[in-house]
Amino acid sequence: MELTVQGAKAYCYTGGKPFDAAKPTVVFIHGVLNDHSVWILQTRYLAHHGWNVLAVDLPGHCRSGGEAPATVEAAADFVTALLDAAGVAKAALVGHSWGSLIALEAASRLQDRVSHLVLVGTAYPMKVSPALLESSLNEPMKALTMINVFSRSTLAAPPSALGPGTWVYGASMALGRRVLASNTQVNVFHRGFKACDSYANGEAAMRAATCPVLFVLGEQDQMTQPKAAQLLVGAARDSGKRVQVASLPVGHHQMTETPDATLFVIRDFLRT
């Protein structure tokens, strides 16, 4: 589905079902050098089980036009505008990695318009090493290899997003290359990493958000280690929210290395 958001084309995958504003809506937000397709299994399932899904390509990424967001705050503005453009009064927000920070910031602004907040593979602060930041700018292919190696927890992933026979590592590499090539004006790799690295409103945003929060963490995640999520977990608990933490025995590719477990923990949380 294509919408016009902030004056530009915004693409949202709807899970193989037409958008139906009458159903509860879940917005899925991808991370750096990703797009909507990282959520395919989870979104397709939810779309066929009573939810409305909007898995977005962030501005300046793949099928979406517009200026690639340079900050988490700018991306959160986009999410707010997206809901308005789609006519969605209330939605659950699900974000992975950088997308988790965007979902968090958007939830703090949208207040009661957000029913559930799901942070997959999150950390705060989400600092990116200077070497990786520099590589993402000047040697993006080297940096892409590095982050995919860090993201992987197994050489034998179960059947995944493209089905049996998918080499998850290779698929992630190819997607990263494609997303990077999709924007000829801006290096979305470096811009996304900088946005993660510079985001400073995480604790305040968590306190401001009003909805229940689910953390989906990878026990072997080297990109966003589970311990790096504890500040946000603490802030969520301290501010009196209902908080659930799910630890999955995988790395940073939660959606592809353990697609069913990721789906079910999100689905069950959305049902509450």
């Binding site: 995958y13 193989g16 797009d35 909507h36 397709s37 395919i40 299994l41 397709r44 399932y45 066929h48 793949c62 290899t145 190696v149 992987r152 927890s153 197994t154 050489l155 034998a156 992933a157 179960p158 059947p159 995944s160 997003a161 493209l162 089905g163 049996p164 026979g165 998918t166 080499w167 590592y169 290779g170 698929a171 590499m173 190819a174 997607l175 290359r177 494609r178 997303v179 072997q220 080297q222 790395g251 697609p259 069913d260 789906l263």
Partner: protein, 440 residues
Amino acid sequence: MPGYSDPGFDTLALHAGAAPDPATGARAVPIHLTTSFVFESSDHAAALFNLERPGHVYSRISNPTNAVLEQRVAALEGGIGSIATASGQAALHLSVATLMGAGSHIVASTALYGGSQNLLHYTMRRFGIDTTFVKPGDIDGWRAAIRPTTKLLFGETVGNPGLDVLDIPTVSAIAHEAGVPLLVDSTLTSPYLMKPLELGADLVYHSATKFLSGHGTVIGGIVVDGGSFDWEGPRTQGRFAELTAPYDGFHNMVFSEESTVGAFLLRARREGLRDFGACLSPHSAWLILQGIETLPLRMERHMRNTAKVVEFLASHPFVSRVGHPMLESHTSYALAQKLLPKGAGSVFSFDMKGNREQGKAFIETLKVFSHLANVGDCRSLVIHPASTTHFRMSDEALVAGGITQGTIRLSIGLEDADDLIDDLKRALKAAEKTTAKAGA
């Protein structure tokens, strides 16, 4: 343990796609000889059929043993995934049938395996798919042959049997400029010698019967998607509606929307395996996996033996030509140095001086080399292409493919190199004596 570093080729050849079986602890890959897989519930069944959840339904579409093979070959090739098929020919057909229908056009190298040439020149033409053949080194020819209906460029990494090395970086650039993918048959080089996806190819397939399995025990094929080709890119001009428009035959799915990088694999499995049905037996998949575990070791030995045999033949007075790119006399020498630094394969041809009777005497004298229609076995093999693998081709097509009536094709195995050279020496002597008798 893998996962904390970036594993190399040899490690991937042993571990990619496989972990100890969670149910039994079995370390080797189990052979899942079952047609079907029990659903947990009606909802699970529906979700599997609708691609909402991952898993196996029916072994024609996917199977856990085959999935290990598919992940492993994709890992070795640097692809995003792959599909195992009943044979290499099935992999080629699946690739073609996924991308096009009647009215489409292919540009292919003249230096192809006879079966591939047959499929494109005769069989696919009957289904309305036309092919223009160009010499692999004729770069202008590749460009000139492309039409608005062209959906694929296709060649072999090293052409069978002349070993013309395909200039993949150049040909892929021509393909991409025209908005067309490049498919490469990498059977004779295997990912050990060359990774075509890294050089610019978009799709790669193998007859896994050959070096991947390596023991002459199994027929199988596999096609790997590099995930690099943008089926909706501006240069494609809507050529690939099979992947970019809703497909009535599968839930109106738009494959390119469903997966940004994996549209080809999605359609190939969900339509091609489902409807054409050229799936691989899990037992065959297991045999190929057994072979792949020693692929690096075998390929190294194949190349070492080949170097010795080529050297011997090149200096033999009864041999008029040795067609291996390791020799400076070969037209692909420079390209092979650049694209195939570990070697240009162990399947090559040579021409003997003399007539057809001498060729017959040569082949029938060999004892270590087996006379049969295969290559890439651990055992050394020999055949006369003009009367066997390429017998349907016209004289003109044979010449275009670098084959003469006197051409002998060898596949160098893993025996002691001295034994191979001794066998060839005796056979060449027998051939020479045959001439002497005929002249007496």
